[in-house]
Symmetry: C2
């Protein structure tokens, strides 16, 4: 059972991991960053509790403790209980969601671990927007995609905003970092994945027709620049989502959702 | 040709329509609101210039004028030219995009005008998030949906944030306000539309199989509450996107994108 510890002084050193969240640990993935993963709100905290990201402490108001009591039954970590006002002073802003959990990062999964048993994976290149990354995970979870692989120049998926936008699914959908693209695509090919590069290019094949593999890896680049030409060339096929001419490319997470949907649409 | 007028004094009354944008005219759609529609950035301003929303003035830096010169060739409105610093003082924040255009609202389209020639329309109920509404329009434009109809309790689609998130497509994809739902769905039925209520309910029909009409209207509710039971009951069929059990419903704009995609996927 989580032990409830009341916190009345915002300066209490026991809640240091939750202090000044908007400014602290802005690049938790870089050397010097504490590397903490922060879950916000009851639903995301529940997802963290059933993930491989074991929280080391929670900070929340009393009412949220009651809502989480069942989830915390077997969990031996402190629940720092504070008023909404004290919480706001600790974290640096008013937090509507009323509860936070902080976890250290476990070792990253390997690409092989992510591919094990997977049927549909996304491979991101140059996607450096935390919200888009969070949305990719939310859509992957909702539409049954099995994993996300990160190529070059992507943002940290465990940044607080990604965790929140993903609805906590970044803690549950497996992900790993690829060695340098496009060479590392061979790992996918050797595992039997059809490698599909998504592009707005009207000359590319129609996605619904191009996606023929039993296992597929969907390469997605950032809005605007898209995939690098090298990566595009290393794919098995270039595929497009049918788009109205003269409109922009879709948001990368929306494009991913469309491809994930294509895999499950008749289920 | 747009006339270039240099503005050196942020207090100049000629740029009043661009003043303090974060706070001014927060509910432009309500009585007392000026009802201005504001486009931000070169691409969105270009879309406004080719829409039925004719700008009454532009405010921007010199470089953006040069980029827009061709688009402004036949346009008899003032281009208020200012430095980035003076612009920031006028609008109240630093504007990366460097150019704004303001238009008055033309009369709203009627439902009949939106349905004329349309094959795929979305009908929103209770969607009160400006970003989600903007994303619905971006996805509609990209995936060839023909119009958006607003049922009860939706936000103003012409709010600045919606215009921006839509990439300006809210100015081009036709939309109208429905009389009260669900009674007004008869307008759609009488026009030959199959009325499909999207729901995460696992007991609903599979969307890909349910969508059989030559013309379809897709009813979408807000994340969380979804469609009202009355509206659901007035549909022809309830349809679900295949979702992984235990995940959240998709974002409403993503769900709309999936349905729009289903209409064009083999094109």
């Amino acid at each position: 059972m989580a032990e409830v510890i009341d916190i009345a002084d915002p300066g209490d050193p026991r809640v240091a991991d939750f202090r000044d969240l908007n400014n602290a640990d802005r690049r938790p993935d870089l050397p010097g960053g504490k590397g903490l993963v922060v879950a916000e709100g009851v639903v995301v905290v529940q997802r963290m509790l059933t993930s491989r990201f074991a929280p080391s402490a929670l900070l929340g108001v009393g009412r949220r403790y009651e809502q989480l009591a069942d989830d915390l039954a077997g969990v031996e970590v402190p629940y720092y209980r504070a008023t909404a006002e004290v919480m706001a002073e600790i974290v640096g802003f008013h937090l509507n969601r009323g509860v936070l959990a902080a976890a250290n990062r476990p070792p990253e999964l390997t690409v092989a671990e992510v591919l094990d048993g997977a049927r549909t994976v996304a491979v991101l290149e140059g996607v450096n927007d935390h919200e888009n990354i969070g949305s990719v995970f939310r859509n992957a979870a909702g539409l049954g995609a099995d994993g996300v692989l990160f190529g070059d120049r992507c943002s940290d998926p465990l940044y607080r905003r990604s965790v929140r936008v993903s609805m906590g699914h970044v803690l549950r959908v497996p992900f790993a970092t690829m060695p340098e693209l496009p060479g590392s695509l061979d790992i996918l090919r050797d595992s039997g994945f059809q490698i599909i590069a998504l592009t707005p290019d009207p000359a590319a094949d129609n996605l619904a027709k191009a996606m023929t593999g039993e296992k597929v890896a969907l390469l997605l680049g950032a809005e605007g620049p898209g995939l690098t030409e090298d990566t595009m060339r290393a794919s098995d096929i270039r595929a497009r989502i049918p788009m109205t001419p003269g409109t922009d490319s879709l948001n990368v997470a929306t494009a991913a959702a469309m491809a994930f949907y294509e895999r499950v649409r008749t289920q």
